[in-house]
Every structure is written in structure tokens, then in C-alpha cells.
């Protein structure tokens, strides 16, 4: 347990001064110099370990102390406990420059493994990895039957090949491959003998050890594997475990097409396989070389594991191990087939049978992933369609197991990592996005980053609209999944949902056929190509909106929306852009009511609306009708809070973190739609723009401006934020500049005095942005520009963005505007 005592101990360890540490070191030195190393030494070393490990900064240990620690570690008589402590202190203070440790004369393999752990932690500045590797191999090569057991050395080999793949020579690699074959395939099938020390209860005559058994208790039918069990184990059985544990890494390492070839990644798989086919063919006549022999034996081992995993394990631990072994077996088979395609046909039949068996076993659903991976990797070479496997994986698994955090993580990573391999099956992946979103909706914290990477591949012109709807409804999906779990019969002892939240009305109402249909739509497995209005469902699920899982999911949505739009703008044409822009207008007031959700989403939506308009400026003219309706609906609503918020973030609310890009572009809190009207409703962007249109927009916006500044039904409602007024006025000014009819209405003359909307002055005589606009308007009107084709102007809070646009798209006729600014 972590208690206050532990906390204070940590503090003490950190606060120890250099002088104190010096004294303590000399005490350690005294203790280690004694002939008999007792509990005092253990206690002192435990403390020393805490002192050096509790801080991230360097602790200066006395040279004699470091020297003695190394000597104790290498001393053959020293008890294991002290060796472990010495090694851990040296490792904890590494990398060190003053290490004199060497593994050249150590005989005990356990000790050698400890020394190696210290040396490998140095980061290889002096070639430690190579020297450890050579020493370990000398011992492995010696092959004395009575000599030290290599059991403790195999993990060191594994680590060395991992850290520095080129350390071992070709003949060493072959040597170890040969020995791995022996350990894997020819371990004893008799149980080991217990090493009893002749205690009181020990039987006087040693019993003959029996044969090893399978996990279900039956006598083993074939060679020993990690799934064979017994009371005691022989040394070669231990080595069998070690050998299988490192097998996959070793196969990858010992394959010359693998790590040693620098361009291995670029080479197509087919080329690599052809090479191995040829080499295998040329050696077929004589005894297989070690590498091929190891592959052959590895293949047999995996087949035996697959067979053994059908047995019913007596112990829970063994049943878990069966699953892990199945996964590993399939992964090893995958490596084998990549290295030598002649395994492919033998493997396929085995894996097809395995897949058929596992499909119906919910307890082993995670083993389906490596199988699907195998079919993705080799489906083409084996002329087998992986479609059925993928379809099963993507359509059934997520709906049933979205609540398992590990499965959700693995499946998401599977999709993300294999994107290049999906090929023509990518369509299955794209179509099953509603299912994948279930994983995300339920497990948003660990999966958001993965989905940000995955989204660009899920979205295309056909699915974009549906994906956007689904993203906006993601918190609602979380709530629906919660409801679904509550309605389904209990699967585990502990509820998967938040039991403190009681929603009897929800459970009751969800039986209503109207909601049933909507729920089914929301919980669909694959893309339907249609969209449904989920408003009633939002109301039904409202009691779940405060649930922490829903709130977490809602927090992830803005990030995902950004990723979505970044992807979609890469390929969206005019028609799709128009659809998406319409969707933004439409959905801005129909979101699931989660605290803060609407505000956060509106910020992304409004910045993205503007970005869409910037990409396709004629959007404003094409959507004139809808935009007018949108603007009209703003003015029509009495308590305009929610809708106005869609235009601008109410200034009274604390500013939540902005998406970085939006902040960079200065898009903080702008009524974007209105701004877009001012920017793009002009003949310079679209020839179809008419004076009538401009007039109608002007009238609508004028009404809005009047309303937001004049009518304030209750004092409790926040006053309209000045930014809205600013942008409305700027927009009106711009529109006015484009139509002769509007000039008399806008200003009362070219007096240079503040013109336009006298009530605004009454509304906010000292709100800071307003005078800016008034003077801007005044300046503009003081020398009116050519009305027919004015350039987009930019004042007010969005000057940065406006300036950017102006730089890129200044129409040639903007001379008058420039002159009027001077």
C-alpha cells in the first residue's frame, strides 16, 4: 500500500545531502568488506537503492563503494539477495563511466545474467552489448552436460539481439538455431524429479517420475510444449519454455531478409518470398540448414499448440495461457509464411479450421485478431479471400465486446496498423465505421489518438456525411450503449455501467417502438447510407448525459471533428462541401445536451464552416436560402441563447481551450456564418450574386442586430457579446458597400460622424469593439467604394484572417478601397 509513511520515506530519501550520503556510503563500504555479509548489509543496500532511485538527478557514490558493489555482485559466494541489490543499485545509477564490471570470468549463469543486466543498461558506449553477447555465446557453445544451465542466458540473448541485432556472427546464429530446435522439439516427456533436501516428510525411496500431462490431465500424446504440465520439470523442459518464449523474436532476427537488410521494408513481400523459395529448393536434397530446420520445428510446435488449445484446461491460469499460446502460434506461423511461402498451404488449412472453431467462442475472441492479420498478410499470396474473416471481425466483434478495454484497444490498433494491407477490403472497414465508433464511444480516453489517425481512411465522398453525423452523435452513442448494456441480461458480476446512476424512466421509455427504431439506427453495425433525426432519442437519453463516460466522450469529439475536416477537405468537391456546410447549419442546434459539449463543438463547427467557405467561396451564394433561414431563426427565437451561441460563444462563459489551429488563425469567438456572409456574398466571388440577395441578407441581419441590441427579455439572460454586434455591424457595412440601395439606409450622410445604427450606441456606449467598427464604417462611408465589385474587407476582431484572405485574393478593382483607407 502507498501510505503517508511511504511518502515521508521518499521525501527523506530525496532530502539526503551529499555529505550524509558520503557518510552512508562509507558505512556501506564497511559492511561490504566484512567476511560475512549479514542482514545489516542487506538493510543498508536496500536504503542505498531507495536513495539513488528516488531522485531523477545524479547521486554521487564513493568510488570505493561503487567498486565494492561490483565486487560483491561478482563474488561467487555472495547470497542472491545481495547480488540483486548490488545489481539494481548499479543499474539505477547507470549509465556510469566508471564501471569496471566484466562478465568474462563469471561461471554461474544466474550471476552472469545479473551482471549482463547492469552492462546492458549502460547504453553501449563501450561496446558492452557485444562483449556480453560473446561471453554468453561462449558458455552456450561449451555444451557441457554438467556445466552451468543456459536457462538464465536465453533471455540475455533475446535482449542482446533486440538491442543490437548485428552483434552475433552467422555461425553463432546457426549454432543457437540448432540448439533451439533441440529444446523446442526434443525436451523430455518424463516429469522431473523433485529436489527435496531430505526433510522430515520426504519419502524414503525416490518415486519414479511419471510422464508429463496435458492441461486437461490426460497423459501427453506428443512432444513437450509450454502447455504440457507435471509436478516437476527437467532442465530441458525449462529450456523449452524459454525457447518458445523467444522464438518469434529469434526467427525475425535470424532471417537475413529481415533486420540485417537495410531496405527490408521497401522490398515487396513477394520478392522476399521468391528468394526463400529458391534457397529452400536448392537445399532440398541434403539435410536442412539450421535456419530452415528451426522453421520446420517451429511449425510443428505451433500446430501442436493449436491442437493442445482445444483441451479443456483444469486451471484458470492454464486456460489463459492457452489463449496467449494460440495468439503466439498464429504470430509465429505468420512469420514463417512470410519467410518461407512453402509453409503457406499447410498453415492455411490449420488456420481455417482454427478460425471456424474460434468464431463461436466468445471467451477467445481476441485470438481472432492475429488470424485476421494472417489472412490480411497472406490472403493474396494464398489466393484466399480474407473478406469473410474481416467481415466477421468488424461487424460482429465490436457490437458484442465494445466494453472490453483490451479488445477495443487491440482491434483499433489492428485497423490502424493494417490500413495499407486492407486493399480492396478497405471498403469493409469503411462501411463498418458505426461499429468501430462503438469502441471509441465507450473507451474514448485511450482510443482518441488512434481514431485521429484512423479517421482519414474511414472517410470518403460516400461516407463523409454519415461519418460527420455519427461523430456529432458520439456522446449520444455512448449513452445508447450504456442503455443497451443495462437492458441486456447481466454478463458479469460487476456491472459495466455506472450503477450509481439510476435511469428507470429511460429503461421504461426505451421499449417504445418509436425509440426502438431510432436506437437500432444509432446502434447499427455498418453504414446505412441514410441519416435519421435523433432529436427524440436525445431527449430520451438525456438522463444519461451527466454520466462520466458520456462526458469523457464528448470531450474527445472536437479533436475528432478537426481530424475529420482535415481529412475531408483533401478530397471534397463543391457538392460535398455544400452538403457538409448545410449539415453544419442544420446540426448546430440539434446536439446531445452534454455539459459544455455544444459550446466546444460550435467552436469547431464555426471555424470549419468558414474554412469550407474559404475553399468554395460560392457556397454562400448557393446556400443563400438556408443561410437566410438560419439568420431568420436566430432573430425569431425569443430566448436566443442556444442559437446565438451557435453563432458566437457567449462572452460571459469562461473560454474553454481552443483547437490550436483556430486560435492561431485568430478565429476566437466569431459569428462565423455572419462573417462568411460579409466575406463571400459578393459578385467578385460568384457571378450569381444579385443585389436582391444582398438586400435580403442586409434586412435579415439588420433585424438580428436590432434584436440582439434592443430586446433583452430578462435580466438573467447574458447580454449579447460585443463581438456579435461587431461582426454584425461589419457585415452590414460590407453588404451596404455592395448595393446602391442600402447606402441611404445605412448612413445619414457623409459627415464622417458615426453613422448607421444609433441604437447600438445606446446599447453599448463603452464596449470596446463597437467604436472601432463605427469609425471603420464611418471611414468607409466617407469615401464610398465602387459598389459593384468590392473586395472582401476585413475589420474588427478577425482582421488577421481577413488580412490573410486579402493577401491571397485581392481583386484588381480594389484600388478605390485602398484609397478610401488612406
Amino acid at each position: 500500500m502507498f501510505t503517508a509513511g511511504a511518502e515521508s520515506l521518499l521525501h527523506q530519501a530525496r532530502d539526503i545531502r551529499d555529505e550524509e550520503l558520503k557518510k552512508f556510503c562509507s558505512r556501506v563500504v564497511n559492511l561490504l568488506q566484512k567476511d560475512e555479509l549479514g542482514p545489516d548489509a542487506v538493510d543498508a543496500l536496500q536504503r542505498l537503492f531507495l536513495i539513488v532511485s528516488a531522485t531523477k538527478y545524479k547521486r554521487k557514490l564513493e568510488d570505493t563503494c561503487v567498486h565494492l558493489l561490483q565486487a560483491t555482485l561478482c563474488s561467487p559466494k555472495c547470497p542472491e539477495q545481495l547480488q540483486l541489490l548490488c545489481a539494481s543499485i548499479l543499474r539505477e545509477t547507470s549509465p556510469r563511466d566508471d564501471l569496471t564490471l566484466s562478465c568474462d570470468h563469471i561461471q554461474s549463469t544466474r550471476q552472469l545474467s545479473l551482471v549482463a543486466s547492469v552492462l546492458l543498461a549502460q547504453g553501449d558506449p563501450k561496446g558492452e552489448v557485444r562483449s556480453v553477447g560473446q561471453r554468453v555465446f561462449r558458455i552456450l557453445e561449451s555444451r557441457q552436460p554438467e556445466g552451468p544451465s543456459p536457462r538464465h542466458l536465453l533471455p540475455v540473448v533475446s535482449k542482446i539481439t533486440h538491442l543490437a541485432p548485428h552483434t552475433l556472427h552467422e555461425d553463432q546464429t546457426n549454432q543457437l538455431s540448432k540448439r533451439l530446435v533441440d529444446w523446442l522439439r526434443y525436451a523430455s516427456v518424463q516429469q522431473g524429479v523433485a529436489h527435496t533436501s531430505g526433510g522430515f516428510f520426504s519419502t524414503p525411496r525416490a518415486r519414479q517420475p511419471g510422464p508429463v500431462t496435458e492441461v486437461d490431465g490426460a497423459v501427453a500424446t506428443d512432444f513437450f510444449t509450454v502447455l504440457s504440465t507435471g509436478q516437476h520439470f527437467t532442465e530441458d523442459q525449462w529450456l523449452n519454455v524459454q525457447a518458445f518464449s523467444m522464438l518469434r523474436a529469434w526467427l525475425l532476427h535470424s532471417d537475413p531478409e529481415g533486420p540485417s537488410a537495410p531496405d527490408a521494408d521497401d522490398r515487396s513481400e513477394l520478392e522476399g518470398s521468391t528468394l526463400s523459395v529458391l534457397s529452400a529448393g536448392s537445399t532440398a536434397g541434403r539435410l536442412l540448414p539450421p535456419r530452415e530446420r528451426l522453421r520446420e520445428k517451429a511449425f510443428e510446435y505451433c500446430q501442436r499448440l493449436a491442437e493442445q488449445s482445444t483441451r479443456r484446461a483444469l486451471r484458470k491460469g492454464d486456460s489463459d495461457l492457452q489463449k496467449a499460446c494460440l495468439v503466439e502460434a498464429v504470430l509465429v506461423l505468420d512469420v514463417l509464411c512470410r519467410q518461407d511461402p512453402s509453409f503457406l498451404y499447410r498453415t492455411l488449412s490449420c488456420l481455417k479450421a482454427l478460425h471456424a472453431r474460434l468464431c463461436g467462442d466468445p471467451a477467445r475472441v481476441r485470438t481472432l485478431l492475429p488470424i485476421a492479420q494472417f489472412f490480411l498478410n497472406h490472403g493474396e499470396a494464398a489466393a484466399v479471400d480474407s473478406e469473410a474473416v474481416l467481415r466477421h471481425l468488424l461487424t460482429r466483434t465490436p457490437s458484442e465486446f465494445f466494453h472490453s478495454p483490451m479488445l477495443a484497444f487491440e482491434l483499433t490498433c489492428f485497423c490502424r496498423d493494417n490500413l495499407p494491407l486492407f486493399g480492396r477490403n478497405l471498403d469493409i472497414l469503411k462501411r463498418s465505421f458505426p461499429n468501430l465508433f462503438k469502441l471509441l464511444a465507450w473507451n474514448s480516453p485511450p482510443l482518441t489518438a488512434e481514431f485521429v489517425a484512423l479517421l482519414p481512411s474511414l472517410v470518403d465522398a460516400d461516407t463523409a456525411v454519415e461519418v460527420l453525423h455519427a461523430l456529432l452523435d458520439l456522446p449520444c452513442l455512448t449513452a445508447a450503449l450504456d442503455l443497451q448494456l443495462r437492458l441486456s441480461p447481466a454478463t458479469s458480476e460487476r456491472p459495466l455501467w455506472d450503477p450509481s446512476l439510476k435511469i428507470p424512466s429511460c429503461l421504461e421509455a426505451s421499449r417504445d417502438p418509436q425509440f426502438q427504431g431510432l436506437l437500432q439506427y444509432l446502434l447499427r453495425a455498418t453504414a446505412s447510407g441514410t441519416t435519421e433525426r435523433l432529436g427524440p432519442l436525445h431527449r430520451l437519453l438525456q438522463p444519461l448525459a451527466s454520466c462520466a463516460r458520456v462526458v469523457q466522450c464528448a470531450q474527445a469529439v472536437p479533436t475528432l471533428l478537426e481530424a475529420f475536416f482535415s481529412a475531408v477537405t483533401q478530397f471534397a468537391d463543391g457538392a460535398l462541401t455544400k452538403q457538409l456546410a448545410l449539415l453544419l447549419l442544420e446540426r448546430s442546434d440539434s446536439l446531445f445536451q452534454v455539459p459544455q459539449y455544444e459550446a466546444h463543438v460550435h467552436r469547431v463547427l464555426s471555424s470549419r464552416f468558414l474554412a469550407l467557405c474559404a475553399l468554395h467561396p460560392s457556397l454562400v451564394v448557393e446556400l443563400a436560402k438556408e443561410l437566410l433561414e438560419f439568420v431568420g431563426s436566430v432573430s425569431g427565437i425569443q430566448g436566443r441563447g442556444a442559437m446565438l451561441a451557435s453563432v458566437v460563444r457567449p462572452a460571459s462563459l469562461p473560454a474553454p481551450p481552443l483547437p490550436r489551429r483556430a486560435a492561431r488563425r485568430g478565429l476566437r469567438s466569431v459569428p462565423t456564418q455572419v462573417w462568411a456572409i460579409g466575406e463571400y456574398l459578393s459578385v467578385s466571388w460568384d457571378r450569381r450574386c444579385t443585389v436582391e440577395q444582398i438586400n435580403r441578407f442586409f434586412e435579415a441581419l439588420e433585424a438580428v442586430l436590432f434584436e440582439v441590441t434592443q430586446s433583452r427579455p430578462s435580466a438573467a439572460l447574458p447580454r449579447c457579446p460585443p463581438q456579435v454586434v461587431t461582426v454584425l455591424m461589419t457585415t452590414l457595412t460590407k453588404l451596404a458597400s455592395r448595393s446602391q440601395d442600402l447606402i441611404p439606409r445605412y448612413g445619414r450622410g457623409r459627415t464622417g460622424k458615426p453613422a448607421g445604427f444609433p441604437w447600438v450606441r445606446e446599447w453599448a456606449p463603452d464596449a470596446c469593439p463597437v467604436p472601432d467598427v463605427r469609425s471603420a464604417g464611418g471611414r468607409l462611408l466617407a469615401s464610398p467604394p465602387r459598389f459593384s465589385s468590392s473586395s472582401p474587407t476585413s475589420w474588427g476582431p478577425r482582421s488577421t484572417c481577413g488580412a490573410r484572405l486579402q493577401r491571397t485574393r485581392v481583386p484588381s478593382s480594389s484600388g478605390s478601397l485602398c484609397s478610401c483607407r488612406r
Partner: protein, 297 residues
């Protein structure tokens, strides 16, 4: 870009805790390399965010206040792109699959974020991350500092993930009341999960983190990206069970801080050099007997 966005989405969650963790001991301060002992006690200005610092340490772009020195770790500056292809990941420079690190840290209850800090109680890194030579002085020290920061960054993320999961499943308070030490802890119901760390944040290589929360302790394995997760998960459960049993962690008076030898003894047998082992029940029992013989409980 994806990663940046993802970071920003989590920021609300991570920042607060990261800052809380920064406030004290193991938190991040201006790295005063020449005199580490004195610097440990000096309270420097608080940097904006620990996650950023770790990223900066890994990428070598952090500018220390008032110093025009070269970045801490220029050799790490070149970030490797996240390998998208599974082939690239499996057959890259580091083939195979091993555990990079194991750590134990404390878990605070979600509502008690202000009490105490996220502490790494034990950590073991198996081998050093491949790093080219750094000829400058203090290279070794920087390597160690980076390693410790990486581990702390993982611990903080795990704590956040665990708290979020606890909140989501309605278990707002980590069960802090002690059970009797005879009663086995139901490890299969303990909160657990996995997440990925992109290359360069905070490790050079992409990594997968598997975690398990037991009462107020978090047990974590940092894995290579393509490790067998089922095996890693059951190994983590096994390690947690062994540590709870052999260190009697549930008894209030015990303290794992001063029992590194036992933890090391368990790791040396069940996770040697970060190699995940396929141990069936009988093998586990055999190793446990060996362990008990070396350390009588």
C-alpha cells in the same frame, strides 16, 4: 498532426494532474545539471507542462530559461515517424517483442487529486534505449534524467487513464480500505487497460502500455509495439499477484520502497530481462517455490 491533436484533446485531463504532480519532489524543474544535489532542493520556476518537457527532452527542443546552452539531447532530435505498416514495425531495427520497462506507482482517488503526487515507487528499465553516442559531458546524466522522466510520464498517463476509467464505471473512489491480507484481491476485476505511446513521446520507439490498478497501486508494463498483449496482460496480473503476496503489500505497515530485492527477485524469475514467458500453472508454482526458498516470508 494527429498526435498533436490527440494531445490537445487529453490536455484537459492530463494538464491538471501533470501540474499537480509537478508541484513537488519528482516534478520537473529547471534541470540544473552541474550540481544536481543542490538543485534538488532549489525551487525553480514551474514549467508549463510536464508532458511538454518530456517531449522536449526526447526531441531536444526545450529552451531552458536564461540559458543559451545547446538542447539537452540533440541526438534524439530526429523523430522517427510512427511506422504505419506492421511489417515495418515487426522487421525494423528492433525485431521481436519484449518488455521495455516495468513500474509500480501510486494511484490517487479521482477526487483526491490535490492530496499528494503521482509517485513512481519502483521502476526497472530493461536495457537502455538505443541511443547514439553523445560526446558532450553529462551525456550519461542526461540519459538517466530522460529515462526517469519517461517513466514518470508513463505513470502520470496511467494514473489519468485509471481515474477516467474508474469515473466512467461509477467507481469514483479507489477502494482504500484494507482487506485482510488472507483474502485474495480479485485481480480479474481490477481496472486495467492499454494505450499506445507514439514514437518520440516519450520514448524514441512507439510503445504500448498495459496497466493494472490494484487498490492504491498501479502496475505497468511498457512494451514494444507488437508484443503479444494477451501474454503481457496475464504476466502483469501474475506479477501483481506475486508482489502483493510476497511483499504482503496489503498489510498497512509494509512498504515496498525498502524491499527492492524481493521485487528484483520476482522480476528476475518471471520477467527475466524483460522477456515475457509462457509459464503454465505448474511452472509458476515451481518458480514460486524457488522464490520462497530464497526469501522466507
Amino acid at each position: 498532426m494527429g498526435m498533436g491533436l490527440a494531445g490537445s484533446s487529453k490536455q484537459g485531463v492530463f494538464d491538471r494532474r501533470a501540474k499537480a504532480a509537478l508541484a513537488g519532489g519528482q516534478g520537473v524543474r529547471t534541470p540544473p545539471l552541474p550540481t544536481p544535489g543542490a538543485a534538488l532542493r532549489a525551487r525553480g520556476p514551474r514549467p508549463p507542462c510536464a508532458r511538454h518537457l518530456v517531449r522536449a527532452l526526447a526531441t531536444g527542443v526545450r529552451k531552458r530559461p536564461g540559458a543559451s546552452q545547446p538542447p539537452l539531447l540533440s541526438h534524439c532530435r530526429v523523430l522517427r515517424p510512427v511506422s504505419r505498416s506492421p511489417q515495418a514495425g515487426k522487421e525494423g531495427a528492433c525485431p521481436g517483442a519484449m518488455v521495455h520497462a516495468f513500474l509500480i506507482h501510486n494511484l490517487r482517488a479521482p477526487q483526491a487529486q490535490d492530496t499528494g503526487l503521482c509517485r513512481v515507487l519502483y521502476s526497472c528499465v530493461f536495457g537502455a534505449e538505443n541511443s547514439p553516442d553523445d560526446p558532450r559531458p553529462h551525456g550519461a546524466e542526461r540519459d538517466r534524467l530522460l529515462r526517469k522522466e519517461q517513466i514518470l510520464a508513463v505513470a502520470r498517463q496511467v494514473e489519468s487513464m485509471c481515474q477516467l476509467q474508474q469515473q466512467a464505471s461509477g467507481r469514483t473512489s479507489v477502494d482504500l480500505q484494507l482487506q485482510s491480507s488472507d483474502e485474495p484481491v480479485p485481480l480479474h476485476e481490477a481496472p486495467h487497460g492499454a494505450f499506445r505511446l507514439a514514437a518520440g513521446d516519450p520514448f524514441q520507439e512507439p510503445r504500448t502500455v498495459v496497466w493494472l490498478g490494484v487498490l492504491s497501486l498501479g502496475f505497468v508494463l511498457v512494451l514494444d509495439a507488437h508484443e503479444n498483449l494477451l501474454l503481457a496482460e496475464s504476466t502483469l496480473r501474475l506479477l501483481a499477484r506475486l508482489l502483493l503476496d510476497h511483499l504482503r503489500l496489503l498489510t498497512p505497515s509494509t512498504n515496498l520502497l525498502l524491499r527492492a530485492d524481493r521485487i528484483e527477485g520476482i522480476l528476475a524469475r518471471f520477467l527475466p530481462h524483460g522477456q515475457l514467458l509462457f509459464l503454465n500453472d505448474q511452472f509458476v508454482q515451481g518458480l514460486e517455490k524457488e522464490l520462497s526458498a530464497s526469501w522466507p516470508r
